[in-house]
Amino acid sequence: MSEQSTQIRDAIAEAIKDNDVILFMKGTPDGPACGFSARAVAALQAVGAPFAAVDILPDPRLRQELSAISNWPTIPQLFVGGELLGGSDIITEMYESGELAEAVGVEQPEGDAPGQAPPVPEPAQPTGPAPLGIENRLG
């Protein structure tokens, strides 16, 4: 394994460790590039879960190293508490059964959510120095 692959793998592992809820996806939450990723984002947003997101498209090695870590072939992949919770099917199924909110650690609002504030729009594309371009949605 090349040194670069190792670096990418370490960066992914660190991102998974540092972010309690992190979604590896195609595209960004505001601009998902695949229907499955879009569904995953929609489910997380519907339960009001704060999550970090990583777009794996910019570098094919991201996907390669991610799948090597997770032993899971497809994208999206949702990690919670450092563990792979699932891909699109599992996220959707858990959302539909109401289990997703609990799994990602948000209280399911009973009846009415007190004035759900609309999500704050992201300031333009962050092209920061972070090696993975993590979009931090924890704020």
């Binding site: 072939p73 497809t74 792979l84 919770l85 699932g86 599992i90």
Partner: protein, 79 residues
């Protein structure tokens, strides 16, 4: 090109007491519902892996996608 029925047979042969319903008219995108008591006590990701692992060599190749739903038989075991 694998057929849905071939996938069904392979799932049912590999997973104890499994019954599977597989769809995939185009021969490359499949969806399967698999019921087996062997899933009991396993997380969803572990359940899906049990099925996905059967097709590890083909996913992304002959099988473009396999959408999965896994369950245990209706909960009737006595407590």
């Amino acid at each position: 090109m694998p057929s849905p029925d071939e996938l069904r047979q392979r799932i049912e042969a590999a997973i104890p007491d499994a019954s599977a319903e597989v769809q995939g008219a185009d021969g490359v995108h499949f969806s399967a519902v698999v019921v087996s008591p062997a899933f009991s006590g396993k997380s969803r990701i572990e359940q899906h892996r049990m099925v996905m692992d059967l097709f590890a060599g083909e996913l992304g190749g002959d099988i473009h996608a396999l959408s999965l739903k896994t369950t245990t038989p209706s909960p009737q075991e006595p407590r």
